[in-house]
């Protein structure tokens, strides 16, 4: 059976205005991602991986080309429609966690469910399950300021997966973590990928996590220079 297409990008170009001129961050990008894939956008700083991730997530828009995510053309959608797609079908993990500092672990993880109007009983169940997945049961009432970087990133993962999104986008998820925590995080994500049908896209230049990826797209200077399938990745 053929896997469902999750991301379909054709001739993507992204330019940013710089002074009176334009800086081309991405050029002629063609990319297809199917359901359940675990891929990494890899490249040095300034290669365009975060920009590509942001365009896929609808946080930014393409200058030229077509971007279709989960069957929605991102070129012709309004801000509100893109927000709805993110709310319903996407999860985000950021390098600096982006947890809300005044919320506890439970409340941070609960937030996407509140935004999706899930009823409180169902919310409690899903949040508890997500916190269990990332192994933060004992920290559910802690606030980000009282936790380590690894614990904060695990909270961010729980928040990203709690509403069981079809696509999870992670921007440098291990950049602020030490080696042990990086492997823990990747183990969790790899395990989740094998248990749920969510597709994962990482933007990273962290060598430690490359081994977990099943497909690596190498970017340089805004162009895809290599699309590599990994036959035997590490598994969670």
């Amino acid at each position: 059976m053929e896997n469902k297409s999750v991301i379909n990008i054709k001739n993507l170009v992204k330019r940013f205005p710089v002074g009176g001129d334009y800086f081309t961050a991405l050029q002629q990008i063609d990319l297809e991602l199917t359901e359940g894939e675990f891929i990494g956008l890899v490249g040095p700083s300034g290669s365009g991986k975060t920009t590509l991730l942001n365009i896929i997530g609808g946080l930014d828009s393409a200058t030229e080309g077509n971007v279709s995510v989960l069957g929605h053309s991102m070129d012709n959608t309004s801000h509100n429609e893109r927000a709805k797609i993110r709310r319903k079908h996407m999860g985000f993990i950021f390098q600096s966690y982006n947890l809300l500092p005044v919320y506890t672990v439970f409340e941070n993880v609960e937030l996407p469910l509140i935004l999706n109007n899930i009823d409180p009983v169902e919310r409690e169940k899903k949040v508890t399950q997500a916190i269990e997945w990332v192994g933060l049961n004992e920290k559910r009432n802690s606030r980000p300021a009282d936790m380590s970087g690894g614990e904060c990133q695990r909270t961010a993962i729980a928040r990203a997966i709690v509403h069981e999104p079809s696509l999870l986008l992670a921007d440098e998820p291990t950049a602020n973590l030490d080696a042990e925590n990086s492997h823990n995080i990747m183990n969790i994500l790899s395990k989740l990928n094998s248990e749920i049908s969510t597709s994962f896209v990482f933007a990273t230049h962290d060598e430690k996590i490359m081994g977990y990826l099943r497909r690596i797209i190498h970017l340089d200077d805004g162009k895809i220079i290599n699309d590599e399938k990994i036959s035997k990745p590490k598994s969670g």
Partner: protein, 391 residues
């Protein structure tokens, strides 16, 4: 949904919320406190005029014009019977007015000489001090402003010169028997008060008077002869006109106070919202629409104003109540400057003032919550997520 998140944000950010709420509640307090003082000043001036001068109203001799001293010479006659009856029933008292000159310490000073029924208790004036002075030729009561201007003390004597009904100048010695503390400069500056009977005999105007003041809440007499009735509204019309003329000034002052309060609230709110740029970016990344983000932050502002109202009531309500019942002592005597200002100012905190201030400050808080959050949501979500400075 927004309400639940707003409540969580508000109570989760303990210090931030406490500071914002405190700044807003102080603004509530200051605007109400200062405006209340101003209103109190104006209200007090009116009340003092009624209590010390006007009471329930007056009957004037037809020639009398209190603002025109040239009319004093001719404005006296026998008191009409019905009005006289009120005086006999102690429900009114008569005053005989004339121009005169006094010579304290060798200087000449033009004054308004007023003969008053000493045992009246219709207005708040210590006229009873004019009785029981059989050894003094003319017992004189003056105000403390007049005493300072003329450099007079209790027991001091001076020559009084007047023109009587027969157009003859006469003079005699007056002695200060009391210096009254009054906030009404119209009873004080340029005035000397003597017993009515003494004034009538000095001016050769036996049983005559210039005007009669009657007690509060007495009905108007239908047959007051040719004397003209002036009710309390007429008598305080000057004061009312002054207050009305002062309304633009009061509004300007209120606006300045509100603007100052708005600046304080604006600083606190804007800083706290701009510091939350990354949080706004995260909410947008999680799928909150721009309008909902703006709604959330505006709602937080509204809840902030609501909490500030409660805090202002709990913390500053007793302070306002204390001042409204005990007054605020003023450091100087404005009476000498010809201003009707109380020595102890009683602020007036009207329902209108409290409600309008609450509404206006709430609108300010909502506006200063709405504007910066709207500005941040106009940014690209990627910039907001990076916590990029808002320009």
């Amino acid at each position: 949904m927004l309400f639940k998140i707003a409540i969580k944000n508000l109570f989760g950010a303990k210090l931030r919320t406490a500071l914002n709420v405190f700044v807003t509640s102080i603004s509530f307090f200051l605007v109400i406190f200062v405006s209340g003082m101003y209103d109190g000043m104006r209200e007090h001036a009116k009340n003092v005029t009624i209590e010390t001068e006007v009471a329930g109203g007056t009957y004037w001799h037809p020639e009398y014009d209190s603002m025109d001293p040239r009319t004093f010479e001719d404005s006296h006659s026998t008191i009409p019977t019905k009005i006289k009856k009120l005086i006999n029933q102690k429900q009114a008292f008569a005053v005989l007015v004339s121009q005169a000159s006094i010579y304290p310490n060798g200087r000449i000073m033009p004054v308004i000489l007023k003969g008053v029924t000493p045992d009246q208790n219709i207005v708040d004036m210590p006229t009873n001090v004019l009785t029981e002075h059989s050894n003094i030729t003319i017992p004189v009561l003056i105000g403390n402003g007049m005493a300072k201007n003329a450099n007079l003390e209790v027991g001091d004597s001076f020559t009084i010169r007047w023109l009587d009904a027969d157009r003859t100048y006469d003079a005699d010695e007056g002695t200060i028997v009391h210096i009254m503390e009054t906030e009404n400069f119209k009873l004080d500056l340029g005035h000397i008060w003597i017993p009515l009977s003494k004034a009538q005999s000095m001016l050769a105007m036996e049983n005559q008077a210039t005007y009669v003041t009657y007690a509060k809440e007495l009905p108007m007499i239908k047959d007051s002869g040719d004397w003209i009735h002036h009710d309390i509204n007429y008598m305080i019309r000057g004061m009312e006109a002054l207050i009305k003329a002062d309304e633009p000034g009061a509004q300007i002052m209120y606006s300045i106070l509100l603007a100052l309060a708005a600046m304080g609230i604006f600083n606190a709110q804007v800083l706290s919202i701009f510091r939350r740029g990354r949080e706004i970016g995260t909410l947008m990344a999680l799928g909150m629409t721009r309008s909902r983000v703006v709604g959330l932050f505006t709602l937080e502002g509204g809840l902030n104003a609501f909490l500030a109202g409660i805090i202002a009531l709990v913390l500053f309500g007793p302070v306002l109540y204390f001042f409204s019942t005990n007054g605020i002592p003023l450091p100087m005597d404005y009476t000498e400057m010809g201003m009707l200002v109380a020595k102890r100012l009683m602020p007036v905190y009207s329902v209108g003032l409290i409600v309008s201030t609450t509404i206006l400050i709430s609108i300010i808080v909502l506006a200063v919550s709405y504007m910066p959050s709207r500005k941040i949501t106009k940014m690209r979500p990627t910039d907001a997520l990076r916590g990029k400075a808002v320009t």
